[in-house]
């Protein structure tokens, strides 16, 4: 055995240096309402490292020009940076080629693109789209629109009481009329990680394509589209430490090629006359109009930033933090954890007996603790689990024990404030 391999084996597993990472995120050193910020809403949007903020600023200060049209150097450089990020994303998710990467405004727009351009022209009355009961509204409503326009219908795979997908029931829903499966990789409301590979396997046995909503997956780990085998994958820059207003749609080239453009405009055409226009090749066909260039540059910086971290160590840190937070929050009087799947991202949804989640969030906010309260854009899931709303603390690679301490201390005050 070579000496280097021996050394590698002997080396202790790398630990995630969360203190160093926290220093990379300037907002974590700020105050809110006179209290140090305790940011526990990363599932809504993640904070940005200085490297991303700087990349966006630098682009506007020294690199800004429109892309794909200028013949001058500044525009060519902007185009090169933009296209480099496309290659970076293709590598990140192991797409077969950069032209399988479409930049959008976000996960929502990515899903709408597939619903309108892939599903809608293929759907007929009586056809079916299979979703799960834990989908975010953005993976429900676009399919409802396509279904309403075509007479297709939505079938919903149930979740269990602990918030896991009932895989057997899901498999039984797949039938002759199923045209597409759309499923969350990771639930935004509960943190449940779905068995995407099995889901794709079951669907592909019947020749059904699968769209994966990976918005909550990318911030916590790597996603390999070819290992998963999915046909479409959607995610957002802002949840993975990049700027808002940028998202990605991955699609298998053969599928994207066969799809008509969704929006018309500049940059997506080969030639235009008033009689007829011809479409540009992939990926430009789906990128009408000037995109969020600086946002894409920022996304590239976020991917670079993630590349400097040991993602396995980050995942171990987040798992440890979730376990600690789950135990300590569950021990607060009257609290019940909602969503206790075996495989979870660091998302902790909970309710407190006799206290509405909105009151919890307002009271926590007075202590500088930011949590989400409400239905988390997953009303059908809330209904299934028999709660009107939950409070949700969600963690990211910069979260640490001090955040959990602040959360638990503040939760302990909620009943006192409400005189209960």
């Amino acid at each position: 055995m070579p000496a280097t391999e021996l050394r590698r084996r002997a080396a202790p597993p790398a630990r995630h240096d969360v203190a160093a990472v926290r220093r990379d995120f300037p907002i974590l050193g700020t105050m809110t309402g006179g209290k140090p910020l305790v940011y526990l809403d990363s599932a809504a949007t993640a904070q940005k490292p200085q490297a991303v903020i700087d990349a966006v600023t630098r682009f506007y200060e020294t690199g800004n020009a429109n892309i794909h049209r200028g013949v001058y150097r500044l525009s060519e450089a902007a185009t090169a940076v933009y296209e480099a990020v496309r290659r970076q994303i293709a590598t990140l998710i192991n797409a077969a080629a950069p032209r399988e990467i479409i930049f959008t405004r976000g996960t929502t727009e990515s899903i709408n693109l597939v619903a309108q351009s892939y599903a809608r022209p293929r759907l007929a009355a009586g056809d079916e789209i299979v979703l799960t009961a834990m989908e975010h509204h953005s993976n429900i409503v676009p399919w409802q629109l396509a279904a309403a326009a075509t007479g297709a219908r939505i079938r919903v795979a149930p979740v269990t009481d602990v918030g896991e997908l009932d895989l057997g029931a899901f498999a039984r829903l797949l039938g002759e009329r199923t045209r597409l499966v759309a499923v969350a990789h990771t639930s935004n409301a509960l943190g449940t990680i779905n068995p995407v590979r099995e889901i794709v396997g079951l669907a592909h046995e019947r020749g059904i394509p699968v769209l994966v909503d990976a918005a909550q997956a990318l911030p916590h780990g790597t996603v390999d589209v070819r290992a998963l085998g999915c046909d479409f994958l959607a995610f957002s820059s802002h949840k993975m430490f990049g700027p808002t207003g940028v998202g990605v749609l991955y699609g298998r080239e053969a599928l994207l090629d066969a799809m008509p453009p969704w929006q018309g405009g500049g940059d997506m055409i080969a030639a235009v006359t008033f009689e007829q226009s011809t479409w540009a090749e992939l990926p430009a066909k789906f990128e009408a109009g000037t995109p969020n260039i600086a946002g894409v540059v920022g996304l590239g910086a976020a991917v670079d930033y993630l590349g400097t971290l040991d993602r396995t160590a980050v995942a171990a840190h987040e798992a440890e933090l979730l376990a600690c937070a789950t135990e300590r929050v569950a021990a607060v009087g009257g609290v019940r954890i909602v969503g206790t799947a075996a495989h979870k991202a660091p998302v902790l949804s909970f309710v407190m007996e006799g206290v509405h989640p909105h009151d919890i969030a307002t009271i926590l906010d007075a202590d500088g603790v930011c949590v989400r309260a409400g239905h988390h854009c997953a009303q059908p899931l809330m209904q299934r689990l028999g709660v009107a709303a939950t409070a949700r603390a969600s963690f990211a690679l910069y979260s640490d024990r001090s955040d959990v301490d602040a959360l638990v201390a503040s939760l302990g005050r909620v009943r006192t404030v409400l005189g209960r």
Partner: protein, 147 residues
């Protein structure tokens, strides 16, 4: 950030713990549902009016935060015995109190106990919680106008 006590005043906490007129009404003259899409909270309001347009009974049912429950409860105690027009005028006063861009109106006397909701304006995301029951009341009164 204002002090939490400004928001969660004792009258509000009391009405949250023991909401008044919190029941279904099967023989109502009009009813309406309030829905807050932000949090998914729903609230139903029932009204009985006499021939002169006076609200003789009012009740509500629903789930919501302390602010919305207390507001619904205090809404019922504030409009009972008032005419439809008086209740609608009170809606406007209450709306100005919690959501107006002007400082709270000096004529707070009309609001009575409802003035305890003055702290809500410091919490923009909670304004809808406080006004949910009032919007349902207005819908019920307006739908009931044609009955």
């Amino acid at each position: 950030m204002s002090d939490l006590g400004e928001l969660y005043q004792s009258v509000i906490l009391d009405h949250n713990r023991a909401p008044r007129n919190c029941r279904r009404m099967d023989d109502a003259d009009c009813q309406a549902e309030g829905y807050n899409p932000l949090c998914g909270d729903r609230l139903k309001v029932w009204l009985k009016l006499d021939d002169a347009g006076v609200i003789t009974d009012v009740s509500f049912e629903g789930i919501g935060c302390a602010i919305s429950q207390a507001s619904a409860s205090l809404m019922t105690t504030s409009v009972k015995g008032r005419t439809r027009e008086e209740a609608l005028a009170l809606f406007d006063c209450f709306h100005d109190l919690v959501a107006g861009d002007q400082p709270p109106p000096a004529g707070g006397a009309a609001l009575g106990k409802l003035a305890v909701f003055s702290g809500v304006r410091e919490y923009p995301s909670r304004v809808k919680c406080a006004s949910l029951a009032w919007h349902a009341l207005r819908s019920a009164l307006e739908s009931g106008a044609s009955v």
